[in-house]
Amino acid sequence: MNRKLLASYALAAAVLAAAPFLLDAYWVDVLNSVGLYALLALSLNLILGDAGLFNMGQAAFYAVGAYVAAILSTRLHVPILWALPVSGLAAAAFAAVVARPVIHLRGDYLLIVTIGMGEIVRIALVNDVGGFTGGANGIFGIARPSVLGHRIRTPQDFFFLIWAFVALTVFLFHRLEQSRFGRALNYLREDEVAAEGSGVNTTRYKLMAFVLGAAWAGMTGSLYAAKMTIISPESFSFWESVLVFIIVILGGSGSIPGVIVGAFLVVGLPEIFRGFATARMLVFGLVMMVMMVFRTQGLLPFRPVRFKESDVPRPT
C-alpha cells in the first residue's frame, strides 16, 4: 500500500474514532449504517469491482447471514459474535450452491439471474420456508453481543464494533488485492478469454469471488442482526441490493477507498438532506445521474498500485 493511501486511512480512522464522542446518538447510528453498507459494498466489490461479475442479489447473502445468526441466537442461545463466522460460512455455502450453475453467464444475463436469486430468498423468508424464519414478522429477541464481558448496547458501542470490523476488512482486502488471488480476479474482469488462455481457471475464480463476497455479506448480516435485535424480510429487499450496487459503481468500482467514500455518500447524503423531506430522494437521484454522466469511473477510481519501480529486479 502506498504512503498517501495509508496516511488517508490513518486520518479517516482518527476522525471516525473521535466521532462517537462528538455526535449525538442519532448521528452515531447513521455512521453505524454507513459502516454496515461499507462492509456490504466491500463484499460486493470483490465480485463486481474486482472480478467484474454483475451481481444485484447481494442482499440474499446478507439475509442468509443475518437469519443464520438470528436463529442461532434465539433458538440455540449461541452468543451472536460466535455466530458471526458461522453465518459467514453459511452464506458462503449458499453462494457456492446457487452460483455454480450460473457462473458461466456474463454481464446482463448474470445480473438478471442474481436479481431472481435475491427475490427468491426474500419470498422464501416471507413464507417462512422450513418454519425457522418467522415469516413476514421475522425474528425478534436476538441477544445483544458482548465483548470481553462488556455488553454492546448503545449506538456508541456498536460504532466501535462495526468500524473495527470495517478496519479489519479493509486491511485483509488490501492484502488480497496485492496477491496472486487479487490479480486473478482482475484478469477475469479485464478479459475472461485471455485470462483462461493465460492459464487462470476462470470458473474457479469466479466462484471464489462469489463465495468470498457472500461470506463477508453474511458476516455483515450477523452484525446487523445483533444491532437491530429484530430482523424481517423487508430489510433484505431488492432495493438493498440496488443500493449496494450503486455504492460500488458510484464510489469507484474495484477501489477499496472509493467504495467506502461511496457508502458515506449514498447512505449519509440522504440523511444530511433530511430537511428537504421528500425532495431528498430527488436530489439523490440527480446526484447519481450527474455522476454517471460526468464521472463514469466513480468518485475515487483507485486502481490498486501493486508494484513500484523498486520491486523490479534490475538486470545485471
Binding site: 496472486r180 490479480r183 479485464e190 485471455a194 493465460s198
Partner: protein, 255 residues
C-alpha cells in the same frame, strides 16, 4: 524428432459450416511450423481447437501423448501450450508486469489464505514470479515499459507483450495467431529474430501468418489449409512451388 503435437482427422463444424474438415498434421518437437491459407480457411479455428477454446467434433489431438480433446483451456496451458490471439487480448487496464504475471499464475500456488495471512513462502513465490516476469519482458525488449498500462503501449509492443505473457507460462509449444498482423517491416524483422530466439530456448512454435516472407523465413515446415481442408504440407520451398497452393492463393486461370 518425435511429434510434440499430433492432430488426426480433426473436424469442427459451426451449424452447417464445416470450419475444419478432417485435418491431420504433426508438429515436431523443436521446430517452427507455419499454418497458412486464405481468409476463412479455418486456421484460427484449428488453433482454438488445439487450445481448448473450441471442442473438436471429431478426431484426436495429442500433446506429448496426452489427449487434449475436452480439456479446459487453463489445463492445456499448464500442460505446456501457450498462445497469443489474432486480435490482441491484453489486460488493458493493468501494467505490462501484471500482464506477464498472469502467465506465471499456473506455475504459482498462493491461494486465499496465503493472500490474507502472508506466510513467508508467499513472499518468496511473489518475488520469484516478478523476477521471472521481468526477465520475460527483457526477452521481448520491453524492460523500459514494465510499469506502463498495456493499453498505452504501441501496437507492436502490445504484440510482444502478449508473447511475453505466453512465455511466462513455461510453454513447450507456443501458438502464435498472426503475430506480425499490423506490424511494419522493421517490426516484422524483429519478430523473425524473436521467433528464432524462442526456438533457441527449446520452445516449439506453431504460427498462423499472412505475411509470406515471414512464413518462408521463420518456418521450416508449412501446413496449408483451404476451406477447412488441408491441401498441402511440406518445407517452404516445396510449398512455394505447389500448384494447389498457388491456385488457392491466386485462383485458377478460368476463374
Amino acid at each position: 524428432m518425435s511429434a510434440l503435437l499430433e492432430l488426426r482427422d480433426v473436424t469442427k463444424t459451426f451449424g452447417g459450416l464445416t470450419a475444419v474438415n478432417d485435418v491431420s498434421f504433426d508438429v515436431a518437437e523443436g521446430s517452427v511450423v507455419g499454418l497458412i491459407g486464405p481468409n476463412g480457411a479455418g486456421k484460427t479455428t484449428t488453433f482454438n481447437v488445439i487450445t481448448g477454446n473450441h471442442r473438436a467434433d471429431r478426431g484426436t489431438i495429442r500433446f506429448q501423448d496426452r489427449s487434449l480433446v475436452g480439456m479446459p483451456t487453463h489445463r492445456i496451458v499448464s500442460l505446456g501450450i501457450a498462445r497469443t490471439f489474432q486480435n490482441i487480448r491484453l489486460f488493458q487496464q493493468l501494467s505490462a508486469l501484471e500482464n506477464v504475471l498472469a502467465g506465471r499464475h499456473c506455475r504459482t500456488r498462493a491461494g486465499l489464505f496465503a493472500a490474507m495471512a502472508r506466510p513467508p513462502g508467499q513472499a518468496r513465490e511473489e518475488r520469484e514470479a516478478v523476477a521471472r516476469a521481468c526477465s520475460e519482458l527483457a526477452f521481448v525488449h520491453l524492460s523500459d515499459r514494465t510499469m506502463e498500462l498495456a493499453k498505452n503501449l504501441a501496437y507492436g509492443n502490445q504484440r510482444r507483450l502478449e508473447i511475453a505473457r505466453a512465455l511466462a507460462t513455461d510453454p513447450k509449444l507456443l501458438v502464435l495467431d498472426e503475430p506480425a498482423g499490423g506490424m511494419n517491416e522493421q517490426e516484422t524483422d524483429d519478430l523473425v529474430q524473436l521467433i528464432g530466439k524462442i526456438r533457441e530456448r527449446g520452445i516449439t512454435v506453431l504460427l498462423i501468418e499472412h505475411d509470406m516472407t515471414l512464413v518462408m523465413r521463420a518456418c521450416e515446415y508449412i501446413v496449408v489449409l483451404e476451406y477447412g481442408v488441408k491441401i498441402a504440407e511440406g518445407p517452404p520451398a516445396a510449398i512455394q512451388s505447389n500448384p494447389k497452393v498457388i491456385e488457392a492463393y491466386l485462383g485458377t486461370e478460368e476463374a
